[in-house]
């Protein structure tokens, strides 16, 4: 077996399930579908007075990559506003090889996805959804 996409760290991130579920009283919510594969991400956020994320929860109906990405994102999202999330997205884009440069943790785990162009959307879908929720 070669060409291992699901390396331990990605599987671990998915299994960690950071932030899975719903919020009781979200400030904002968003849902995104990837019509190509049917992956669906729903994200709830509670914002503080400055528009920063105070609490986040996600429901992913999708593959391991999408689950792992949502989990990784939830683990570092609290305290950030839209600009802060956009900055994180660059790490994910770097990890999957869409931008130049080193990816910071936790998104560096997604480096194997750079060889799988068509799966990169799976990693980015939670970012798209959170961006919708924050705008």
């Amino acid at each position: 077996m070669s060409d291992q996409l699901y390396q331990e760290r990605i599987v671990a991130l998915a299994k960690a399930k950071v932030g899975t579920g719903k919020l009781a009283a979200p400030t904002k919510s968003a849902r995104r579908d990837n019509p190509l594969c049917g992956d669906r991400v729903t994200i709830d956020v509670r914002l503080d007075g400055q528009g920063k994320i105070a609490e986040i929860a996600h429901q992913v109906r999708g593959c391991l990559l999408c689950q792992a990405s949502a989990s990784a994102l939830a683990s570092v999202a609290v305290g950030r506003d839209a600009a802060g999330i956009a900055a994180l997205r660059h790490d994910a884009e770097r990890a999957v090889g869409r931008e130049e440069g080193e990816a910071a943790e936790p998104f560096a785990a997604f480096t194997p996805v750079s060889a799988h162009k068509s799966r990169q959307e799976c990693v980015l879908l939670p970012f798209e959804t959170l961006k919708d929720a924050l705008s």
Binding site: M1, S2, Q4, Y6, V11, G38, G62, C63, L64, C122
Partner: protein, 405 residues
């Protein structure tokens, strides 16, 4: 003539290749089959020599030759029908759209078309577009828990307003074959026509369409060992003759003036413009190839693989087959889910084992919705597959079950 997997495999150049250091375990035939040498050579011969011969000389040479072409005859023989009832289209989807536009234009607002819940989008969306254009209604036959069209409900769903029943001959998700006799008897009792979408049936051997009593049949070249870019519509000559053209262009006309244009007889009326000659020649060769195969042997082989695969899956904790449990009235398409692992992740893992399968909604979202599935992983076999393909597949699923949940 007797069936030998090894002999069949030897005719498919792709199967002897080593890709990324591994043999190819190609179990995604429902999406697109592979092509044998004889098809590749027929297309290449056309491209390198025939392209001048066919086109040489005077204009009507081309048209006359095309109507009476060998490939039309070979496809017709495969379906058990006269050559002039074969219409070449751009694909199976194009063939269904042809019927929805042309036959569909003869329907009245309030007329009904009956589909099933397991149809491929290609046999749903054209009718939704027709509904939007022409005010027809769409009814839908539910599916049983084991993935078959539930014909028990047919009598209640057929009405005198039902003009067409259009169903998958074999489901591209569950592998179930519909009971054509029952459908035809019920449809005829209200005067409805019957169309079968044969995309998943045609790759498994010759047909006798007149014996089925149906009105329309469609299938795709690239799933039946032929090239991409060609499909087939069959209908009885009298029915084709009653249908107006779909697309307009060269060679589907009698005479063109700006005031008025007259139509050529079928099949030309439905073959506007330069047809996909190369792909059609390839499909003719593919039909001839299928015709020459021992299908009693091939079908037994296919069903043995299905049994092997189902036995193996049953031993994997949380693997659930979505489709008929037995081998009766089914073809070698098997869908399953693995508890706690997303179908795409199963497919991705199999990919890293050199096993090509398909995961997702299989262009059957209504079916997925009905059973509340994220999708399934689908294995679809052809006569050139063998036990080693199934074993590689089962190893991959076991690995996914162990590592991904």
């Amino acid at each position: 003539m007797s069936f030998s997997v090894a002999a069949v495999r030897g005719q498919f150049p792709i199967l002897s290749q080593i890709i990324d250091g591994r043999p190819v375990h190609y179990l995604d035939n429902g999406a697109s089959s592979q092509t044998p040498d004889t098809v590749l050579n027929a297309v290449r011969a056309y491209e390198t020599t025939g392209r001048a011969n066919v086109l040489r000389g005077v204009r009507h040479l081309v048209l006359a030759d095309r109507e009476a072409s060998e490939e039309r005859a070979d496809v017709a023989k495969f379906l058990g029908v006269p050559p002039m009832e074969i219409v070449f289209t751009g694909g199976c989807t194009a063939a269904i759209n042809l019927v929805a536009y042309s036959y569909g234009s003869l329907l009245q607002p309030g007329d009904r078309v009956l589909l099933s819940e397991l149809e491929h989008h290609s046999n749903i969306v054209p009718w939704q577009l027709l509904r939007a254009r022409a005010g027809i209604e769409i009814d839908m036959i539910p599916v049983t828990a084991d993935g078959r069209i539930d014909l028990a409900l047919l009598p209640r769903l057929l009405t005198p307003k039902t003009k067409l029943v259009s169903l998958a001959h074999v489901s591209n998700v569950t592998g179930a074959m519909v009971d054509v006799g029952a459908v035809v008897a019920a449809a005829k009792s209200v005067g409805a026509k019957v169309m079968l979408d044969g995309a998943q049936r045609a790759p498994h051997g010759p047909l006798d369409l007149p014996a089925l009593g149906i009105d329309f049949y469609v299938f795709a070249g690239h799933k039946a060992y032929g090239p991409n870019g060609v499909g087939v519509l069959w209908a009885k000559a009298a029915l084709l003759d009653a249908m107006p053209p779909f697309m307009g262009g060269g060679s589907m006309i009698g005479r063109v003036t700006f005031a008025e244009t007259t139509w050529a007889p079928a099949p030309r009326r439905f073959e506007a413009g330069t047809p996909p000659i190369g792909p059609a020649i390839g499909l003719g060769a593919a039909c001839k190839w299928m015709q020459a195969l021992d299908w009693t042997g091939a079908h037994a082989h296919e069903m043995a693989m299905v049994q092997h695969l189902m036995d193996g899956l049953q031993k994997i904790d949380g693997a659930r087959i979505f489709g008929p449990a037995g081998l009766q009235n089914r073809y070698p398409v098997v869908s399953f889910t693995l508890d706690g692992v997303h179908p795409h992740d199963v497919a991705q893992t199999l990919d890293s084992f050199g096993v090509a399968v398909r995961a997702g909604h299989h262009c059957a979202q209504p079916l997925m919705d009905r059973f509340d599935l994220d999708g399934t992983t689908r294995v679809s076999m052809a006569p050139y597959n063998d036990g080693s393909d199934i074993d590689a597949f089962l190893s991959g699923v076991r690995y996914a079950a162990k590592t991904l949940r």
